[in-house]
């Protein structure tokens, strides 16, 4: 193991360069879609496509990138002076942060999903006012109302109505 890091250390300048580029790449692949896919900003089809690809590959890319980043950092740390070790720590933070963020769904932080939706009989639905609007579905003999005030928060609710699996969205 030490031989491997010794070998790496013969190329310190190259290590630093690769490390820096990788940290930038790892952060960019995660933050680009994060900042592009935002409400009140316009999205073109090209932006959507690039964001989709980045989101799709982020989890794998950030893990692989972080492994290389950590390996290079260990090598540079071992023979590094105090100020280069500080720089290494400062570079590790965004890289590991981005790796974690790649696995998160920030939209579900803002709008929690409803994993086990529960229903009340209409006579017992005191949480809905008469003037509130609902989305209503009838399939076969089954009728369901999805209050819009609740749907506007969760956005997506899976259900089975009259035997048909549906997804209510608002």
């Amino acid at each position: 193991m030490t031989r491997f890091f010794q070998w790496l250390n013969t190329r310190r300048k190259l290590n630093w360069l690769v490390l820096l580029l990788l940290v930038i790449a790892v952060v960019a692949i995660v933050l680009t879609p994060f900042f592009k896919i935002m409400p009140f900003k316009p999205q073109t089809p090209r932006v959507m496509e690039i964001s989709y690809v980045m989101r799709r590959w982020s989890p794998l890319f950030t893990i692989a990138g972080s492994v290389v980043i950590l390996t290079l950092s260990i090598a540079l740390w071992l023979r590094g002076r105090w100020w280069s070790r500080i720089v290494l720590l400062l570079l590790l933070v965004p890289a590991l942060g981005a790796t974690w963020l790649a696995r998160q769904n920030q939209f579900e932080w803002m709008f929690n999903p409803l994993p086990n939706p529960a229903y009340a009989k209409s006579a017992e639905a005191i949480f809905v006012n008469d003037t509130d609007r609902v989305m209503a579905v009838t399939i076969g003999n089954e009728s369901v109302a999805y209050p819009i005030r609740i749907m506007a928060y969760h956005h997506v609710v899976a259900d089975i109505v009259g035997g048909t699996p549906i997804t209510a969205t608002y």
């Binding site: 009140f40 009989k121 209050p147």
Partner: protein, 231 residues
């Protein structure tokens, strides 16, 4: 069977992702726009958007989605007057802006036989039912007695095209009733004839989308706008 999660936003309309393939689907159209299932279309389930009181009256024994108690306790659901607040929000202006209507004008969007028409809600408030023809399909748009619920129907029964007018019944002035001029039958807000020669007949329901003009126009770029008196 696919399971969906909120995954993003595309010009103010949200994107959902299915767990099974990771494909991105556009909420308003139900179309897969990116990913392994790109091009697929989710089948639309006919639905109504109406006030709870009206729904209870029509469907007494249905079930209602309950809120999440923690989120309700934290007051994070929309307030009762959410429509006012959202109506005042900015709309994202893309490159292809259609200024015929203000972006956040509430419209009733109807797409039938490949054609799209936006009926400004204000037009429906002035005149209900709005009787129109889209392509070759005779339709009508009706405002409910809560002055907010909207339904659309095809105006054909057994191959016969009908003309509809508002009927005011002094006994029940609040309830929405329509009368067709061909047979004089009375019809209710569910599109069913309740008295007259056609009693028992049900008009075919047409999906409507209550939407803001800017969003309807993004997904229906060739849409026309209904003008009162144009017919």
């Amino acid at each position: 069977m696919l399971h969906f999660h909120l995954a993003g936003i595309n010009n103010q309309n949200f994107i959902m992702r299915d767990e099974e393939t990771g494909t991105w689907w556009q909420q308003v159209s139900g179309k897969a726009i990116l990913g392994p299932l790109k091009g697929h279309q989710l089948k639309e389930v006919f639905h109504d958007e109406l006030s709870f009181a009206l729904w209870k009256r029509e469907k007494g024994d249905g079930r209602v989605l309950k809120p999440d108690e923690k989120i309700a306790a934290a007051n994070e659901y929309e307030a009762a007057d959410w429509e006012l607040r959202v109506g005042r929000m900015r709309a994202v202006e893309g490159t292809d802006v259609d200024k015929r209507l203000a972006p956040r004008t509430l419209v009733i969007g109807i797409a039938v036989a490949g054609k799209s028409v936006a009926y400004p809600f204000s037009a429906l408030e002035k005149q209900s039912p709005i009787v129109d023809t889209i392509g070759a399909v005779p339709i009508m748009v009706v405002l409910g007695d809560d002055k907010r619920s909207v339904r659309a129907f095809e105006r054909t029964v057994d191959g016969r095209r009908l003309e509809f007018f508002e009927k005011v019944d002094k006994a029940t002035p609040a309830a929405v009733q329509l009368i067709d001029s061909e047979t004089g039958s009375t019809w209710n807000f569910e599109g069913r004839a309740i008295t007259g020669p056609l009693a028992g007949k049900q008009l075919k329901k047409i999906s409507v989308l209550e939407d803001f003009w800017f969003d309807w126009r993004i997904y229906h770029p060739d849409t026309s706008i209904y003008q009162i008196g144009a017919r």
